[in-house]
């Protein structure tokens, strides 16, 4: 049956599984780093994902997926050669290495590289048991209890769709400088969607969370049942939501997941690749005021057990806490090796990839704004007429024009300093380099999200986190239907 690999020593795990030795790694990585190449690395991955799904009151889908493979990369200047294979043998590694090397227009000139295993800089999610070790029966029971809890909220809840996924990903990264680093990355996620029905009208609500934790995390502090109730309440509330307003108005964002604002409005625009190529709306704004002085925004991959955290990024660089905006001034970019080298800027530990089949690029980890001094009550009270958005679906950004959207799935009108009617979902749209300048109040209630975010870029998906205190934005366009 599915179990996590008990790995105290991921390096040894890979060597044994694929019949490799330190010597073969030295030959392969030494062979890849040809004379005219700047960098080369090998990325081995072994990943197991187990998922269960509930609908119509029963757990009726179960799946288990195992993937393994190796990616070989050779970098010369701003060129990247990449080859990958799910067949991990010394021969396939040599073939992949030669293919990747084609980019440097030369082959055969091997360098000698001595490999030296090292430990990741952080220890953010070592667990006594992999989430895969929790018996499936326990996971089935959790889903069944979620179904009961959601339906108990109200008889108008007609269907509950819930899924739980547990994952263990083992990676081994061998860099051209000879470092060898391994990591064991657990991940759990629970998602709940409720469908409510009343007099022929239907609505849905969704909620969830997780992290790089043991399965038990979902059971602590009533977490999973709270997710179920929250999804049910959101669906019920939406049944009586009024049409959202249309036009530019004052918007208050609630704490936590609305931090997706930062991810879309500024995070992507500060990724090194777009800034090196000068295709970002933030290109060459380093040191300039891009937000109100109330705003300090960081990207932090080192928070224990968070969904967006990593001990080392997917190029073997230790993750870190990077200040992106300090009191409104643009301070830093998010970097992978290639872009940091070409821009002459420090590594930040943001080189990430979806799998061995993908080339790393600069990506966010956990991106959030530090707390301010206002109370959330005062922020809402300060608005005579506007929109309060408490929860969001996805978002997207056009890096070059800087325009970004994010879609509210739970929102309320603010009238006379109080939250009044719930409004239907609506997309909010703004301009990244401008929107944070319009932040006039920042709450003292910073929250990180529950652990559900997945970021897509150039066809690659990676888990991320966001966070935000309550903030007031003086002017954002709300895409509703009533003028």
């Amino acid at each position: 049956m599915t179990t996590g690999v008990d790995v105290r020593e991921p390096v040894r795990f890979f060597l044994e599984r694929f019949g490799l030795t330190d010597r073969t790694l030295e030959q392969i990585v030494g062979g890849a780093i040809a004379r005219r190449a700047d960098y080369a690395d090998l990325y081995f991955e072994f990943r197991t994902v187990e998922a269960l799904g509930l609908e119509d009151g029963i757990v009726k889908t179960a799946s288990q997926h195992v993937s393994q493979g190796v990616g070989v990369r050779v970098v010369a200047g701003d060129k990247t050669g990449y080859a990958y294979s799910d067949d991990v043998t010394v021969d396939s590694l040599r073939v992949a290495s030669r293919t990747a090397q084609a980019i440097a227009h030369e082959a055969g000139e091997t360098r000698s590289v001595a490999v030296r295993p090292q430990r990741p800089a952080h220890d953010l999610y070592t667990l006594p048991h992999s989430p895969l070790d929790t018996p499936i029966a326990d996971k089935v029971e959790l889903l069944s209890r979620i179904d009961v809890a959601a339906r108990r909220v109200d008889p108008r809840i007609k269907n509950v769709l819930a899924s739980v996924a547990a994952e263990q990903k083992l990676v081994l990264i061998v860099g051209a400088s000879g470092f060898v680093v391994g990591d064991v990355q657990p991940l759990v996620r629970l998602s709940v969607t409720c469908i409510a029905e009343e007099g022929g009208a239907r609505q849905q609500g969704s909620y969830g969370g997780g992290g790089r934790t043991a399965f038990a995390f979902l059971l602590e502090q009533d977490r999973s049942l709270r997710f179920a109730r929250t999804a049910a309440e959101q669906a019920l509330r939406n049944l009586h939501a009024v049409a959202a307003p249309a036009g530019t108005m004052t918007v208050v964002l609630g704490p936590g997941w609305p931090g997706i604002l930062l991810h879309e409005a500024i995070g992507h625009g500060l990724e090194g690749d777009f800034n090196r190529k000068k295709t970002s709306a933030f290109s060459e704004l380093l040191g300039q005021q891009v937000a109100s002085p109330l705003c300090t925004v960081v990207d932090d991959g080192t928070i224990a057990n968070r969904r967006g955290s990593l001990n080392v990024d997917d190029e073997g660089t230790p993750t870190s806490r990077t200040v992106l905006i300090e009191k409104g001034v643009l301070r830093g970019y998010l970097q992978d090796r290639l872009n940091a080298r070409l821009m002459g800027l420090p590594l930040t530990g943001n080189g990430r990839r979806e799998s061995f089949a993908h080339i790393p690029m600069p990506r966010m980890t956990n991106t959030f704004m530090l707390a301010g001094e206002s109370t959330p009550e005062d922020i809402i009270r300060s608005v005579d007429r506007g929109l309060y958005a408490a929860y969001f679906g996805g978002g997207q950004v056009d890096i070059t024009s800087g325009k970004f959207v994010f879609s509210a799935s739970e929102a309320y009108l603010i009238e006379g300093g109080r939250l009044t009617a719930p409004v239907k979902g609506a997309t909010l749209i703004g301009h990244g380099p401008e929107v944070l300048k319009r932040i006039s109040m920042v709450g003292n209630d910073l929250q990180l999200d529950e652990g559900i975010g997945t970021c897509g870029k150039d066809g690659q998906s990676v888990p991320v986190g966001v966070g935000l205190p309550t903030v007031r934005i003086d002017g954002l366009t709300v895409g509703g239907t009533t003028a």
């Binding site: 049956m1 599915t2 269960l52 609908e55 029963i58 757990v59 009726k60 889908t61 179960a62 799946s63 288990q64 997926h65 195992v66 993937s67 393994q68 701003d78 060129k79 990247t80 050669g81 080859a83 990958y84 294979s85 799910d86 067949d87 293919t99 084609a102 980019i103 499936i136 089935v140 269907n159 469908i195 029905e197 239907r202 609505q203 849905q204 959202a244 249309a246 530019t248 190529k277 709306a281 089949a357 080339i359 997207q396 950004v397 890096i399 024009s401 325009k403 959207v405 879609s407 979902g425 609506a426 997309t427 749209i429 703004g430 301009h431 366009t477 895409g479 509703g480 239907t481 003028a483």
Partner: protein, 449 residues
């Protein structure tokens, strides 16, 4: 000696049955891909790979589980079959689960021209040359194009084997080639990017690189100095690219899964008028060379032509076997799956049939309104049909395209939007598996300043 895909499938079926499976099916796939990227004339990346993977679905009575792996060793396959059956035994029985009725299975496998051997023969050098030519054409098209996110050319060739304990054995090859160009235009403080793209199954159908580059340049330059417009209710014209996203929303709402889950705004609307007479939407899995064509679906049923909306009336939902059983209907041959997922419903080639009006005449019919060329965000609620997305486009005044607009949203409800399709263009092109011509919707809310 590496076993063939067929041998792997047979072994898995036999092993599943030996472990107590009452039924099982297997998908085994292998593919070969090449991807090159060029930026400002220089090669930026070359990526090459060959991959194989397999997925096994096993039924133990009414219980089922699905597993996938890339490990083709005999020991791994034997263990996978045992694991899959053990996993199936743990979960709840579902009386609707199971393989298709044998009589429904495809008896013949039509030749649909999905594979072009020349695609696999494209070398990295050739792909680089095409990408360079595409990007260069964009850079040469206008002096305001001074930067670029680059051009990409990729090819893929794959073979899929599907086998089940019902005795079905099927295999087909398919190929794909695509070229995209993403220029950046700058002028007086304004910076914009747009793109153009061509993707086909054969080299002969691919647009010329220079034509793709010029089109990308034209789309990018016209976005310079875009601005917001005041909030208003106006007619909205969708270009073919953005109109196809509305057909996608329709596809999600007619999927048997959305219907039985209670998650579609089209529940109970079969036989009802959804749109004016000039709206006909067809799903056709048998189009020769089609990007969404296949000789049989993911459960071994023949693909077919299904009229979803006929002259404005909703005529058919789309089903696989499971969602059809849940709703007492029959599969429409729309089962799709990856090796790692159970079947679900997916359109094949789904398109809004061309009308008789030229896109220019559609624009000319609008006194004041919006021409949409790009949509961003996820603001579509498939349960209610409520629609609110970020938009980019050109403002229409007195029947003419005038200045570019951005940082606006368009909002409405899909039911009212389909009902309000005032005009359907004559410019349908099969550029994607889901496509549409230019359309005009009578009224939507544009939110801006």
């Amino acid at each position: 000696m590496t076993p063939s895909l067929e041998e792997v499938a047979e072994l898995l079926l036999t092993e599943a049955q030996r472990n107590g499976a009452t039924a099982a099916d297997v998908v085994v796939a292998e593919d070969e891909t090449l991807e090159v990227g060029v930026r400002l004339g220089e090669v930026e990346k070359i990526k090459q790979a060959r991959q194989k993977h397999l997925g096994l679905r096993a039924f133990v009575g009414d219980r089922s589980a699905i597993t996938s792996s890339a490990d083709f060793s005999r020991e791994a396959l034997v263990r996978l079959a045992a694991d899959t059956c053990a996993l199936a035994r743990i979960i709840a029985p579902d009386p609707f689960a199971g393989l298709p009725a044998p009589a429904e299975l495809a008896r013949t496998q039509p030749e649909l021209d999905l594979y072009d051997p020349d695609v696999a023969a494209v070398s990295a050098e050739t792909a680089i040359e095409w990408a360079r030519a595409g990007e260069q054409a964009a850079l040469d098209a206008d002096p305001r194009i001074r930067n670029s996110e680059g051009a990409q050319c990729s090819t893929s060739s794959d073979r899929i084997v599907y086998a089940s304990t019902l005795g079905f054995r099927g295999t087909y090859r398919s190929s794909g080639v695509s070229l995209s160009v993403v220029p950046i235009a700058t002028d007086n403080g304004s910076m914009q990017r747009d793109y153009w793209y061509s993707g086909q199954r054969s080299l002969a159908r691919l647009d010329a690189p220079a034509a793709i580059g010029r089109r990308a340049a034209e789309r990018t330059v016209r976005r310079l100095h875009a601005r917001q417009v005041p909030t208003c209710d106006v007619p909205v014209v969708f270009d073919p690219e953005t109109a196809s996203t509305l057909v996608r929303h329709l596809a999600a709402a007619v999927s048997g899964y959305s219907l039985y889950k209670g998650a579609s705004f089209l529940i109970g609307k079969l036989g009802e008028r959804l749109a004016p007479d000039h709206v006909t939407v067809v799903d056709d899995g048998t189009r020769v060379g089609g990007l969404g064509s296949k000789p049989f679906d993911a459960e071994g049923l023949p693909t077919r032509r299904t009229v979803v909306v006929e002259r404005g009336v909703l005529r058919s939902y789309l089903f696989d076997c499971y969602s059809a059983r849940k709703l007492d209907a029959r599969s429409t041959g729309n089962a799709a799956r990856s090796v790692a997922s159970p079947p679900s419903v997916s359109p094949t080639n789904l398109y809004l049939e061309a009308g008789t009006v030229s896109p220019d005449d559609i624009i000319r019919s609008v006194r004041r309104g919006l021409y949409v060329t790009e949509l961003i965000g996820f603001g579509v609620n498939s349960v209610t049909g409520d629609y609110s997305r970020g938009a980019v486009g050109l403002w229409i005044e007195n029947g003419e395209l005038t200045y570019p607009v951005e940082e606006i949203t368009i909002a409405g409800n899909l039911l009212r939007m389909f009902d309000g399709v005032d005009a359907v263009g004559n410019d349908l092109e099969f550029r994607h598996s889901v496509c549409a011509p230019t359309i005009k919707i009578a009224r939507m809310t544009v939110a801006g300043t």
